[in-house]
Symmetry: C2
Subunit: 490 residues, 2 copies
């Protein structure tokens, strides 16, 4: 690794009004982010213009999706020896079998399930550039076959590693070149984070935010520059900002003075962003608590042939699923996309049981907002346990169980009076892998009489959550989505 | 998790001369550690008394080990369906098969090997207590069947989780009760770190240092209290301090003023412990570099039946190994131990190819010592890549290769003039799993004309190494051993 840390901004090719490609000084990054978060509109892409731009993308013809039997998917096959569902090229992803054994010994201590295997690290990356003294993020209007509402606001780049490296052969997604070998001084975020642990096996994504000189960023009709404040505003709308975008945004650390808050709750939230704010637990104690749950939770992940997956899973009517309709299914899709380089393809899509709920309970302690996170296992997580939202479940998966075995705090979340519900937005899963998978994301003030919580739940300030995010593999995808969402409510 | 962070020191049962069980204030921990590191002798266990005590333990009769065929091991069997070598109880550990596929595509891109599977988290823990105003660490004189020199200095506790939890039933190793649920204010170190990645599959150990009230720690003839300074002195001796002990000690962060250094090299080393010392790379850039290598290095770990492991591996003459003698073998051992609760047992031991070399090249930049770490994969690592020593290899494994394919920097290490060799000690692997496995550990000043290093090598200050250690899974076992060893040379 060469020793030079800070590369000079490359010389611009095209003069633009307020072009600033400055490499940020370490101390100014948090201030620049705060400034961007406070900018709720921008001359670069005014909110009204954004609405028109986005509506045009949504109205655009050219994406047709049809469900087809898995066996009818062109380019895919069930491997004869294992029954795994694979692409003929060996690339992309595969559906394999997973056997999970937990050490608890009770019922549910061993199960089997299909799982998506994609061993390659993906990159989720935002480009940032300064216009008129304010940092803007390059968002992409992204169309995927399974998207609810067709188009989502996604990060600048969302690609597998090998896809990204296509730039060396003149291919690769738009703007990929900025993420291939960015100089260290331009990288604001670079951390590995887990994928959705219930559905992917040990998959991780590299979350990146890279500062660019706007003169080096080619314009494209499906990309636009927005401030953090503009994105914050959009986080309050159903099925608009993708979980991938939220996940990356959650990794940004900055503080905003509490004067910007709209009410007392917002002020407590903004105080919680400050690293010096008093907290219920020290960060070391949080790490210890997670280590303790990891040590206690023995989860053995064993890859098995898809054909061997039992326990209610079966292939029927051209799809993979369960007779009881629980958890999820895998279906085939045929896609026609006018705007893509490859205009017609088939692929499997994962269809989760509908009605998922992800929620954070919050509480203000010493004037500082804390969120209640749950240290729990997910079948496919790399290190077994991460901090998850207070509630993360599909209630219908649990209806057959007695009340006391249903997910903890679900009643407190769904039964909260409207005045305590601070965020209630439908968020949908990534449509390149999931078919119309909507979940309800909530932030709810905990009831005053909540009392002590079990030892696998911890109260965490937002600055602490940021610190843990910096370490990687500490907060799961759904928790990251909710942490980003909190910025919509101050 | 209950909110109380700081438990009062429990009331003592027996009055002792200088009993101090104070919970350390956060700011004073580093100072207390520095004070302990500077104390090269102690009235609690004077160095001369330690030598006698340790020699007695080494001279003690009662540990006999005999190699036996794997098939003859009482209590172990080869599972009929997989050929995996397992204990009849299903506990302890197993020898399974591992298929590794790397994305590079070249030769060596796919191989199979036996691997030790032990899914449970182990605890490696030191108790610390204050005597006469100085922190002392409770070390254990530990006898294991495969130990070189029979007895090693080990952490206070070295146990699997379920072993540790035996305290609830009145069993469990000595002092285990201090590590089961320590109050947060008493925990100095609590981080998950990788096991030896070439031989274990995704195994991790919880590294802990816990402050105790000395009045609560029962005396035992195989345990004694030493200062960090006394342990530092012992790190310079062959096959004495165990890698497990070093690995935990490496996780302690503290600074010592450079006045304590014996020469200019020592002063540069002590300056490197300060978080504010200038560094070649920012820590964020180091993390980015590791992420980049992780993204580039596709390693797929597939568990396979031991019976299917090919590529030169075979069972012959009652052992598992290779005809070319490379890498390692697995042999059976029968053990008689007079001092153990269970006095007679059989177990497999791993026998690495002899002559391993682990070395750090160091360089002083701006007056601050930096060590050259190598971001590389090991077959069984949880997240595929960690920072390893500059050189980590068994030269005999590579003799069949042309010079340019041999491990990088091996020549610089082995050919260094004696004046540049700062540490040269034989360190042996843990004798509960490994049979008489000695490796040579070196710290060598890099030649002045070393020049730029490839981009999978990074120069890291000691404070940065400490910061990365705090995150877990960033530095491998051998690198941690060398980082601890550096404290023997200032």
């Amino acid at each position: 690794m060469p020793a030079a840390e800070t590369a000079p901004a490359p010389a611009g090719m095209v003069p633009v009004p307020a072009p600033v490609g400055r490499t940020p000084a370490a101390g100014t990054v948090r201030e620049a982010l705060a400034l961007s978060a406070l900018a709720e509109d921008s001359a670069v892409m005014p909110n009204a213009a954004f609405e028109r731009w986005f509506a045009e993308r949504q109205a655009r013809e050219g994406f047709t999706v049809r469900r087809i039997p898995l066996e009818a998917m062109d380019g895919w096959h069930f491997a004869p020896d294992t029954g795994d569902l694979r692409h003929d090229s060996g690339h992309f992803f595969a559906v394999e079998g997973l056997r999970v054994r937990t050490g608890d010994g009770g019922p549910g201590a061993c199960w089997e399930q299909p799982v998506i295997s994609q061993r390659e690290i993906g990159v989720l990356g935002f480009l940032v550039a300064e216009f008129d003294g304010v940092w803007h993020f390059l968002v992409q209007a992204k169309t995927e076959p399974g998207n609810v509402n067709t188009v989502h606001l996604a990060p600048t780049v969302q690609a597998t590693r090998s896809n990204l490296m296509g730039v060396h052969q003149g291919r690769g997604p738009h703007h990929a070149e900025h993420f291939v070998a960015p100089s260290a001084g331009r990288v604001l975020v670079d951390s590995l984070q887990s994928e959705r642990g219930s559905w992917f096996l040990r998959k991780r994504n590299r979350h990146m935010v890279v500062v660019a000189d706007p003169r080096d960023v080619a314009g494209h009709e499906d990309f636009c520059w927005l401030t953090l404040g503009q994105i914050r505003r959009l986080l309050g709308r159903d099925n608009l900002v993708s979980m991938e975008a939220s996940s990356v945004l959650a990794c940004l650390s900055y503080e905003v003075g509490e004067a910007a808050a709209r009410d007392g709750y917002g002020a407590a939230l903004l105080r919680s962003l400050a690293p010096a704010a008093p907290t219920v637990h020290s960060t070391a104690a949080l790490v210890s608590a997670v280590n303790e749950i990891k040590a206690r939770t023995r989860v053995e992940q064993q890859s098995i042939p898809l054909a061997e997956v039992g326990g209610g899973w079966r292939r029927a009517d051209g799809a993979l699923g369960r007779a009881d309709g629980r958890y999820f299914g895998i279906t085939g899709a045929e896609v026609w996309a006018a705007s893509r380089e490859v205009g017609h393809w088939a692929q499997p899509l994962l269809v989760p049981a509908p009605g998922g709920v992800c929620a954070l309970l919050t509480r203000v302690v010493d004037g500082v907002l804390h969120v209640l996170l749950h240290a729990r296992s997910e079948a496919g997580l790399l290190d077994v346990v991460e901090l998850c939202p207070t509630v993360q479940c599909t209630p219908s998966n649990h209806l057959h169980r007695p009340e006391r075995q249903r997910p903890r705090f679900l009643r407190e979340v769904l039964g909260a009076p409207p005045s305590r519900v601070r965020y209630d937005v439908m968020v949908s899963e990534e449509g390149a892998r999931f078919d119309r998978a909507e979940n309800r994301y909530l932030v709810v003030e905990a009831p005053d009489d909540l009392g002590d919580v079990p030892d696998d739940y911890v109260w965490v300030s937002l600055a602490q959550a940021g610190e843990l995010l910096g370490r990687g593999y500490f907060l799961n995808m759904q928790a990251r989505t909710l942490l980003a969402a909190l910025h919509a409510v101050w």
